[in-house]
Amino acid sequence: MTIPLIQAMLNGNRRALARIISQVENDGPEARALLAELYPRTGQAHIVGITGAPGTGKSTLVNALAQLYRQQETPPKVGIIAVDPTSPFSGGALLGDRVRMQNMAGDRGVFIRSMATRGSLGGLARTTADVAMVLDAAGFSRILVETVGVGQAEVDIANMAHTTIVVEAPGLGDEIQAIKAGVLEIADIFAVNKADRDGVNRTVMALEMMLGSGMQVVSHHGRVMKVDTAAQTPAWRPPIVKTIALRHDGVSDLLQAIEQHRSYLWQAGQWQRREAERLRHVLLHVVQDEIMARFRRHVSEEQFQHVVAELLARRIDPYTAAEQLIDAVPQQR
């Protein structure tokens, strides 16, 4: 039997969609049942991650990209998830990405959701992948995910997206140093935004240099793949696209690069592999969270404090203590 809220969502009720997302985001009482029922409907969407330092123009680019998608001949429905950090002091958050995404309010084919990281240390919230699943099941075939852009944002988004765009902008200081270590490994596409500013070409050159001219070895999704010259499928070379997001300049080139990467994944037989990798990470996260949750359910704060006191008195070492605590957690939930 279909959960009424899901039925409403599938009938195009946007409030139902918003409500389901909240349930999932809050890990509410119905979240599990909702996700279980929605999951078979997922797997249709192309998830595109947009990461890069704060202020490089990620939100403005997402806005321009979404509008361009919607202007295509057969426009895909576009879901947007924009993540901003939760304040560690108050637990509150100021989610301001919508400021740059104004013009799509009248378009039913676009759905924008802001998310706070809620204690997650990476560039995404713990439930961002789940929210993407909901949008996927609701028929949004392009999902743009804007990360916080600090910390380990790149790794997180590369693990959940099919295509990862790293946004750079000129004027962030020494080009080579400004380009974060690690982005080369995860970027499928580089967008050098604010191309109206001085220094764009220096940023582009710095990227080209870092990417290397020969491309003997191509990094893809954190995995270094040797280019097999005998193989029929050439490795993907991350293109560098100049954009002026504010003026929607170069955005069609960026969209084209995304669609090319999508075709590449399909043609090279990489899509399924990428999906498997993605789902592996999803599963790993859930397992970690579940184990921790089970631990918390069965080990009281009192018990925990008691063990801390034992540690303090040097009567037990952390490893033995952890083993004993874990052994006390029953196998069944």
Partner: protein
């Protein structure tokens, strides 16, 4: 842990700056709320759509232009059309008394003048949402 409360802060109408709205948005964040800030020049449609997509508990409007009697009824209507009558709508601005009455009849629950402190606004929202009076503590 209490459920995260989500608040949309928007500035409808054509008047230019949003210093006041930003101050309130920050105060709400510091009180532990998740604030979706959409900035200036919002049409009623944009506000209702954002409130729906973000599934907010509260819509906070800042209107200094004097156009509240044109904007707020339309926003309330659009929220109603979307089945969002349960959303708490609060309004900040220079609102004459007779207008306050009319707006309250439309379902606006809190109207704050320019002299209102952010603490007052936070306390009002917490009370309306039946939250414990103490602000949320960091997790």
């Amino acid at each position: 842990m209490e459920r995260k409360i989500r608040i949309l802060v928007a500035k409808p109408g054509l008047d230019g700056h949003d210093r006041g709205a930003k101050v309130v948005a920050r105060a709400l964040r510091d009180a532990g709320f998740e604030v979706i800030y959409t900035g200036i020049r919002q049409t009623p449609e944009m506000i209702a759509e954002a409130a729906l997509q973000e599934d907010v508990d509260v819509v906070g409007l800042s209107i200094l232009s004097g156009a509240h009697m044109a904007l707020v009824p339309r926003i309330m209507e659009l929220l109603h059309e979307r089945g969002m009558d349960d959303v708490l709508v609060v309004l900040g601005g220079i609102i004459p008394n007779e207008d306050v009455k009319a707006l309250e009849k439309l379902g606006v629950r809190g109207v704050f003048g320019p002299g209102a402190s952010t603490q007052e606004i936070v306390a009002f929202i917490r009370e309306e949402l039946n939250l414990s009076p103490a602000p949320a503590v960091a997790a």
